[in-house]
Amino acid sequence: MDPMDVLAIAGKMRYANNSNYKNDTMIRKEAFVHKCVLEELKRIIEDSEIMAEDDALWPQPDRVGRQELEIVIGDQHISFTTSKIGSLVDVNQSKDTEGLRCFYYLVQDLKCLVFSLIALHFKIKPI
């Protein structure tokens, strides 16, 4: 067996949430999703057209917080870093309203999918 073989593990979903509530430790969950879930995730990302966007003009992370999204699809690799977005007001006040709006909605859609997967699989409501 060639020791240089690389194992690519597809479909692993990992979730981590910092809980500062009463000295709780970090919450971690892990599960393996079916290929069809990955395909749907891919479809959602491609439909959003986020791959054409750029965070150059987006607000920098600040005291309030940060968001990071990294996507690898095929040979495309893109990542975004920005501040937390409270609402569309923040989007409309930014220097790249189209791009930030796209990001804003995509993040919500992705969270919806992931939270459904987590809630059903682990029988709890993630925050």
């Binding site: 060639d2 240089m4 073989d5 690389v6 194992l7 690519a8 593990i9 597809a10 479909g11 692993k12 430790t25 919450i27 971690r28 969950k29 892990e30 599960a31 393996f32 999703v33 079916h34 290929k35 069809c36 879930v37 395909e39 749907e40 479809r43 959602i44 909605y105 919500q108 859609d109 919806c112 999918l113 459904s116 997967l117 809630a119 059903l120 699989h121 682990f122 029988k123 709890i124």
Partner: protein
């Protein structure tokens, strides 16, 4: 601290028509057994359905029957695909170096 999945069989459905109602999905799947949970998420921008659903059955038998029967079925004029949402372990793909493509004798 790792949490392990508990009982329940979860199906992942794609190709759901954006104007489908919860009942449309519920009624089709309830035919096969008692549904414990149903998630039919919205597109956060448009308010229409995003296009996927998750259905949880109590028994494997019901879930599998629903899967076999409804995978490829028509709901509101659109073909849905039904699969398991989760798998037991990683789908491992071995990727060798490019050299491996050349056969050596």
């Amino acid at each position: 601290m790792w949490l392990i999945a508990v009982e329940g069989w979860i199906l992942f459905i794609t190709g759901v028509h954006e104007e489908a109602q919860e009942e449309d999905i519920y009624d089709k799947f309830a035919e096969f057994g008692e549904i414990k949970n149903l998630h039919l998420n919205l597109d956060r921008r448009t308010g229409f359905l995003k296009g996927y659903a998750l259905v949880e059955f109590e028994s494997y038998k019901s879930a599998n029957a629903a899967l076999e029967s409804l995978n490829g079925a028509d709901i509101l004029g659109q073909t849905v695909h039904v699969n398991w949402g989760f798998v037991k372990g990683p789908h491992i793909r071995k990727r060798g170096r490019r050299d491996d493509d050349r056969r050596r004798h």
